[in-house]
Symmetry: C2
Subunit: 77 residues, 2 copies
């Protein structure tokens, strides 16, 4: 099944990419990672799949928005 | 690495469990699925990890909240 991870290079996106998108079983999913900031021509496709914010994962056509809770390190920075 | 998927049995939770939690590479993650409605004694642990809503995935101690965009089928139902 196709799994597309859309992101925009933000710290939350990178973290989600590292642990969620790259953590998907490659035996089950064909994973593609798309940086919408660098590939603006694919924003329309993401919106059509129901993506409203990034990072998001579209699996089998269904959108899953991923929100990382704020880390204390963000508050400390 | 430990990955804990917290949910409460809602349709969105079940869908996220099916495609995201069960889609994680078992060679990389030790996945545990916790139904907080049935195991209320584990709510405190989830909150401590930063979980604010379900479904959520805690990977390596970091919380990722998953929100499924509304399906048209929900509106049709």
């Amino acid at each position: 099944m196709k799994a597309t991870f859309y992101h925009a290079g933000c710290p939350v996106c990178v973290e989600a990419e590292k642990v969620v998108a790259e953590g998907l079983d490659r035996g089950r999913y064909e994973v593609e990672i798309v940086h919408l900031g660098q590939h603006k021509d694919r924003v329309a496709e993401a919106k059509q799949a129901g993506v409203k914010s990034v990072p998001a994962l579209v699996i089998g056509g269904a959108p899953f928005h991923i929100n990382h809770g704020a880390d204390l390190s963000v508050l400390e920075g």
